[in-house]
């Protein structure tokens, strides 16, 4: 997979921007507030249909414009395909080669992206919700059907919470408990499958980044599951276990008006040695733990899909200490992946650049190619 061209129309502050990215690194340099993150967000949205930053869809549309559009021409299996996404009236519509994409699988087949933003770096010390979102992004990258599956779970969950608040008849609530258990067990098996593939790679990547003796551990195990071994149970057994947990906690859930057990309440546990990284690891170590995970994600997708995902790095270098940043830049240069980086300071990402790097200068929502001499220009 390779992205050949990318065009933004009224996406955030990008009124009309066309990029011709490099086969390897494409680097957008500019001061704050110029549109660098918007460039990456547009590409991320094109490939995942999800905004990179938590926001309502309508916020993606340039102020005063009616519709936003991002279109990319990809080289997929030897053929050029155009995929595009439009947002208007708070709705999104995907297109493949100019035709409305009828199923999300059709749309997602063949493209993948791993994004790395400064927000990711706070995931270790932040709350469980951030870690769940972080985890789910990786799951979705690996299993595109997860988007639909997690939506189904979300709907079942909202429905059950409503029924709890309305104190409906037990038969009615029971039918929702079973549905919630089935959709929830699916999310559990997806997350479990992802962790099984990813965790060993992340542990190894963290060790390679170095400077910490203690090994990393990334684990996911749902809370409140009795009588079932999460790691080995089949999906129907997990559904039964979730159902039992829902029934056990029904009185308490009814009292509080929300569902207290299920994939929406779980946490991704990140440890350093025996201790929780969240409270014990230094900021530098916490960031290295996330870096290890991201590198693992890239390698895992490569192994699973047979091609490298697109890599998006938004202003990450300024948040890493010099040695870990150097490690990341070397890794990117060696990976051979098609990479998009943004930075306020070109010097920070120089090591990821090579002769075929395309440099853009971003000013007020416009991008212009910037010629660089033999070596990369200094900051």
């Amino acid at each position: 997979m390779r992205l050949l061209r990318l065009r933004y129309s009224d996406f955030r502050n990008l009124a009309d921007v066309e990029l011709a990215p490099s086969e390897h690194a494409t680097i957008a340099v500019g001061q704050n507030g110029q549109g660098k993150t918007n460039l990456l967000e547009g590409l991320f949205f094109l490939v995942t249909l999800k905004p990179l930053r938590a926001s309502r869809l309508q916020e993606l549309v340039r102020f005063g414009a009616e519709r936003a559009r991002v279109a990319g021409t990809f080289l997929l299996g030897g053929a050029e395909r155009e995929i595009a996404v439009e947002v208007s009236g708070g709705l999104r519509q995907a297109y493949v080669d100019g035709k409305r994409a009828s199923s999300l699988e059709e749309y997602f087949g063949g493209v993948a992206v791993v994004a790395f933003t400064p927000d990711d770096l706070d995931v270790v010390k932040g709350g469980p919700e951030g870690r769940r979102q972080f985890l789910d992004r990786a799951v979705f990258n690996r299993f595109p059907a997860y988007l639909r599956e997690s939506r189904a779970y979300g709907r079942a969950l909202k429905g059950r919470n409503r029924l709890l608040k309305d104190h409906v008849a037990p038969d009615y609530l029971e039918s929702w408990d079973v549905t919630l258990s089935q959709t929830g067990a699916r999310l559990w098996t997806r997350r479990r499958a992802l962790l099984t593939e990813l965790a060993p790679r992340a542990v190894a990547a963290f060790a390679a980044i170095g400077r910490t003796v203690d090994p990393a551990a990334y684990t996911y195990a749902p809370a409140h599951l009795d009588d079932v071994d999460f790691q080995s149970a089949a999906e129907p057994a997990l559904a039964r276990a979730l159902h039992e947990a829902l029934v056990r906690r029904r009185a308490r859930d009814l009292e509080r008006g929300f569902t207290s057990v299920g994939p929406h309440a779980d946490d991704l546990e990140i440890r350093l040695g025996e201790r929780l990284a969240r409270t014990y690891a230094s900021q530098g170590q916490q960031r290295a733990l996330i870096l290890g995970w991201k590198i693992a994600e890239i390698e895992n997708l490569h192994a699973a899909l047979g091609f490298l995902p697109l890599l998006l790095l938004d202003d990450v270098s300024s948040e890493l200490d010099p040695e870990r940043n150097a490690y990341l830049m070397d890794y990117l240069a060696a990976s051979g992946a098609q990479t998009f980086l943004t930075t306020t300071d070109a010097a920070l990402v120089e090591k990821a650049a090579s002769a075929d790097t395309v440099w853009y200068r971003v000013v007020g929502g416009t991008c212009t190619v910037e010629a660089r001499g033999e070596g990369p220009a200094s900051g």
């Binding site: 709907r155 909202k158 029924l163 008849a169 038969d171 039918s175 079973v178």
Partner: protein, 197 residues
């Protein structure tokens, strides 16, 4: 300025699902240019449909009599009953020509988020028509989405204690998809591979 009667027609047409302002305009101009008899026939058809067509007293599909064609057809099998969400789903199942039993239309699915509970659906009426000994199997053909699955589970809990065999159409239909839009081959496969609940 377009004349007011024309504006009124466009406004009415634009309320139809899937019809935007432009299409409404096109339809209105078409009606206007067609021979006047067309408009008279159209308005008569509209009048008649609301005056004469009503819900079948037994299965709640459409009829212009007390009972519908599906309920009256003596060749259909009384022992097997297919429960669907809506009329479009009934038509979709019927198009497969695989199903020779009777129907029951719920007119919706359980949906806490939209305030649709068991009392808003034709569930009481379903239970009432299941006299013991007559119906042997109930196929629950609600859509395979969250609400459709939950509704199927709810019905199963009511029907099983009555000694009925309850089956669910298999998941040949795309998950999260609408039965109404599934192609016939998929639906036929789903019907023949139905599973007991």
């Amino acid at each position: 300025m377009t004349p007011e009667p024309l504006n009124r027609l466009i406004a009415q047409l634009a309320r139809l699902p899937g019809i935007g302002e432009k299409t409404a305009q096109r339809l209105a101009f078409y009606i206007l240019r067609a021979p006047p008899q067309y408009a008279r026939d159209l308005s008569q058809a509209l009048q008649e449909v609301v005056e004469k067509v009503r819900l079948c007293a037994r299965c709640f599909s459409l009829t212009d009599q007390e009972l519908c064609g599906f309920c009256l057809d003596a060749r259909r099998d009384d022992r097997i009953l297919c429960v669907v969400e809506g009329l479009a789903d009934l038509m979709a199942v019927e198009r497969t020509r695989e199903f020779k039993g009777r129907y029951h239309v719920l007119h919706g699915v359980l949906s806490p988020l939209e305030g649709v509970g068991p009392d808003q659906l034709r569930i009481k009426e379903l239970l009432a028509r299941l006299e013991p000994g007559r119906v042997e199997e109930v196929i629950v053909a609600t859509n395979p989405d969250v609400e459709g699955e939950a509704t199927a589970l709810y019905l199963t809990r009511l029907l099983k204690p009555m000694g009925l065999k309850v089956t669910r159409i298999a998941q040949g239909v795309p998950m999260g998809g609408d039965l109404e839009y599934a192609d016939q081959a998929t639906l036929a496969r789903a019907l023949s591979a139905r599973r007991e609940l």
